[in-house]
């Protein structure tokens, strides 16, 4: 099949196609510039400096994973007592840690419900000081911890401290002793 040669008179710039093409390019650059801005954006979080002093905490939060948290507060005493009572003989520290892990760990929904009720309680008692200890495994991303700290902003009577460590340390060599009103946990 022979190709038909275009005569010079037919060689014109197709204005419609040109406008179409320019319009497509314009849309492309507008969208990419918006997306680049979105991608390069960074979020800012202003948090008060944590107080990392040894002492008592009302609540210990151990981050297990992105969607799993261990929440130890005063209710853990009853939980531990009622379960260790059923076990005969001496209960090891690892057994206590396993009980806590089984009964007091929550997913995000349950965990943040507890955070909300803690915030309400601290707002109701402005003269009472609250201290929360957040423990996060060292190899996990730091936003696991800052996601929690973010919830404590704006409450001057609610302070927090940060520690690094995983639940494995507690299971392996931690010491958990239950006293009348307190739980003493030595992490290593």
């Amino acid at each position: 099949m022979a190709f038909r040669k275009l005569s010079p008179a037919n060689r014109k710039i197709q204005l419609v196609s040109l406008i179409d093409l320019i319009f497509i390019l314009l849309i492309f650059f507008i969208i990419t510039s918006v997306l680049i801005k979105l991608v390069r954006g960074e979020s800012q979080l202003y948090i008060p400096t944590p107080k990392n002093e040894p002492g008592e905490a009302q609540i210990l939060i151990q981050i297990l994973d992105e969607d799993r948290y261990l929440w130890i507060d005063h209710t853990a005493i009853d939980t531990l007592n009622s379960h260790t009572y059923k076990l005969l003989g001496k209960v090891s520290h690892a057994q206590k840690a396993s009980i806590l892990l089984e009964k007091m760990s929550f997913d995000s929904t349950g965990f943040f419900e507890r955070i909300e009720s803690l915030k309400k309680e601290s707002a109701l008692h402005p003269h009472k000081a609250f201290f929360v200890l957040i423990r996060c495994p060292e190899d996990k991303p730091y936003y696991y911890a800052t996601n929690i700290i973010e919830h404590f902003l704006g409450l001057p009577n609610l302070e927090y401290g940060c520690l690094e460590g995983s639940i494995d340390d507690v299971l392996a060599k931690g010491k958990i002793n239950v006293h009348r009103n307190t739980i003493q946990i030595d992490f290593d």
């Binding site: 179409d20 497509i24 849309i27 960074e42 948090i47 495994p137």
Partner: protein, 193 residues
């Protein structure tokens, strides 16, 4: 002038038709995506999420300028992390873009890599590593400098890092700030998304 009448049959121009249909499709897709994003942000902002209020009333940021000590943690080619320290200029304010922060810390030689195996190091070895020492010394010097330059100001430390930066590094920075807790009341996290 008489109009010339076209005798050729009027064909539908398929190429232009496809072009126009394609443009319309893109337009509706994009406007639909933006309207969903707009709705979502409006509904959450208006109903559910109360904006967090910081206990601090004074912020040390002036527009988009750096007025604080910035510690920038970036990934290393070896799979580890590098800490870049960016000092605020006390004479003139510094634009705080990521590239300038990076370039300035290179020029000032205030950067240091964390050891490749920093996650397996003991706390003592980690905190005495070069990068940690650099961070600790910088925070200490910053607090001392702020005392001289801004008698009434309160120094704020900023940390810029990717979302998945290990907690071990951040905890060290928070610990160091905690040592001067009466002087550094606030830490700012700038998380690159």
């Amino acid at each position: 002038m008489a109009f010339k009448r076209e005798d050729s049959p009027r064909e539908l121009e398929l190429t232009s038709l496809i072009d126009v249909v394609f443009l319309l499709l893109i337009f509706f897709l994009v406007s639909f995506a933006f309207s969903i994003a707009g709705d979502a942000s409006q509904s959450t902002a208006a109903t559910e999420i109360p904006l967090p209020k910081s206990s601090m009333t004074q912020l040390s940021l002036k527009g988009d300028k750096l007025a604080n000590l910035m510690i920038q943690i970036m990934p290393d080619t070896t799979g580890s992390r590098i800490a870049y320290i960016l000092w605020p200029s006390y004479q003139e304010e510094v634009e705080m873009t990521e590239d300038i922060a990076f370039q300035k810390s290179l020029n000032d030689s205030t950067f240091c890599s964390f050891p490749v195996n920093f996650l397996s190091l003991s706390n003592e070895d980690f905190s005495t590593s070069k990068a940690c020492s650099l961070i600790a010394i910088s925070i200490k010097q910053f607090v001392e400098k702020e005392k001289v330059f801004k008698q009434n100001g309160r120094p704020v430390v900023e940390v810029r890092a990717e979302k998945n930066t290990e907690f071990k590094i951040m905890n060290f920075i928070l610990e160091q700030c905690g040592l001067y807790e009466d002087r550094i009341p606030q830490v700012i996290f700038r998380t690159a998304s």
